[in-house]
């Protein structure tokens, strides 16, 4: 049986609907989403709740008793999210190619940072698989993969050196802002839309607050 409705699932559902609407630029209903009244938007909520869910998982009875099982589960989740990213990117490319043919408009092949994939497919496909090339609007799951890969370290820090976790996260956050640095994209020169060195703080805050409030 699916679990009963709860606040975390409710707000995550809210974030998903907002993301769907916000990812159709120009749609009339875009003006109703909360980013029109808020500096932050659903991306922050989505990442924060991912951290919150991690906190709930880590505090569950099965995870609490077996660190190896926990690390294995989190690693498996990262692989699942990676597979999802590859799948939706492939479908998106096929959609763009189909639309370009159907409407006889090759400019559609350049939407959302897709031009390199059609113009220089050999290198850019390597970039897609390495998560160093992202399509526009398809760039939050690569962040999520990185966060889930670091989740075992977050869980172990929480278990064995809890006072260190949040200061370490904020130190990395401010270093990335002040130096500044981020993850680079390849083969198209640029940077990740979601800087994993700063966005990890949102994930860790969700994790830490779930442990204190949830």
């Amino acid at each position: 049986m699916p679990r009963q409705a709860n606040a975390v699932d409710f707000w995550r559902g809210f974030a998903l609907v907002s993301i769907f609407v916000n990812h159709i630029p120009g749609i009339w209903f875009e003006r109703l989403t909360h980013r029109n009244f808020s500096i932050s938007d659903s991306a922050e909520l989505f990442v924060f709740l991912a951290g919150w869910s991690l906190g709930l998982l880590v505090s569950s009875r099965s995870a609490a008793t077996n660190s190896a099982l926990l690390v294995f589960r989190l690693g498996g989740r990262a692989v699942t999210i990676y597979a999802a990213q590859i799948l939706i990117s492939s479908i998106a490319l096929a959609l763009l190619a189909s639309a370009a043919y159907a409407f006889d408009n090759p400019l559609i092949l350049e939407w959302h940072n897709a031009a390199a994939i059609f113009q220089e497919p050999a290198l850019t496909h390597i970039g897609l698989v390495l998560l160093s090339h992202h399509l526009g609007y398809f760039d939050i799951l690569p962040l999520y993969v990185v966060l889930m890969l670091t989740a075992p370290a977050i869980a172990m820090l929480d278990r064995f050196a809890r006072p260190v976790l949040l200061p370490f996260s904020f130190a990395l956050y401010f270093a990335a802002l002040m130096v500044p640095f981020t993850a680079r994209t390849w083969p198209v020169e640029g940077q990740w839309f979601f800087n994993p060195f700063t966005w990890q703080t949102m994930f860790v805050l969700g994790f830490v607050l779930s442990r204190n409030i949830g």
């Binding site: 699916p2 009963q4 409705a5 975390v8 699932d9 409710f10 707000w11 995550r12 559902g13 809210f14 998903l16 609907v17 993301i19 769907f20 609407v21 990812h23 159709i24 749609i27 009339w28 209903f29 009244f37 808020s38 500096i39 932050s40 991306a43 922050e44 909520l45 989505f46 709740l49 699942t80 999210i81 999802a84 799948l87 939706i88 998106a92 959609l95 763009l96 639309a99 409407f103 559609i108 609007y137 398809f138 799951l141 990335a176 802002l177 002040m178 500044p180 981020t182 990740w192 839309f193 979601f194 800087n195 700063t198 966005w199 703080t201 949102m202 805050l205 607050l209 204190n212 409030i213």
Partner: protein
């Protein structure tokens, strides 16, 4: 922290209100006039700058209370959004693809309100189908 949540909400409310006005009236400082390091003072999504982080924390402090209003009074909405949230990866993947389909439809049909309403209604319906099928599959697996 749970004991202090009411006080936190009251403290967060002015920040939520002021930043809402900043967004509505586009009251953001000129980036070239900001001191170094600029990322500490800018509003930037890629780097999740401090103003976004702070405003988000204030926003959730204030609006997290709304679940307690929705859950008893609008149960269908609570159950609907929760079902999407329970199956978030599947729903997110379908939403990402459907939003691109929506963009293509709007490109082809030049985005009238009727087209937009259809895109929204069909899209959200398909997100609900995705969540429902995902949960049906889980039930089948648990019975095998």
């Amino acid at each position: 922290m749970r004991r202090h949540i009411d006080g936190i909400r009251i403290a967060a409310l002015p920040l939520v209100a002021v930043t809402a006005l900043m967004v509505v009236w586009n009251w953001f400082p000129d980036p070239t006039a900001l001191p170094e390091p600029k990322l500490l003072f800018l509003n930037g999504k890629s780097f999740l700058t401090p103003i976004r982080l702070l405003q988000f924390l204030a926003l959730i402090a204030v609006f997290s209370a709304m679940y307690g209003v929705f859950a008893p009074h609008v149960p269908w909405l609570t159950e609907f959004l929760s079902s999407l949230g329970r199956n978030s990866l599947n729903v997110f993947c379908v939403a990402s693809v459907l939003s691109l389909v929506g963009q293509i439809i709007r490109y082809r049909y030049a985005g009238s309100v009727i087209v937009d309403t259809l895109v929204l209604f069909v899209g959200i319906s398909l997100l609900w189908v995705t969540a429902t099928v995902s949960e049906w599959r889980e039930r089948q697996k648990s019975q095998v």
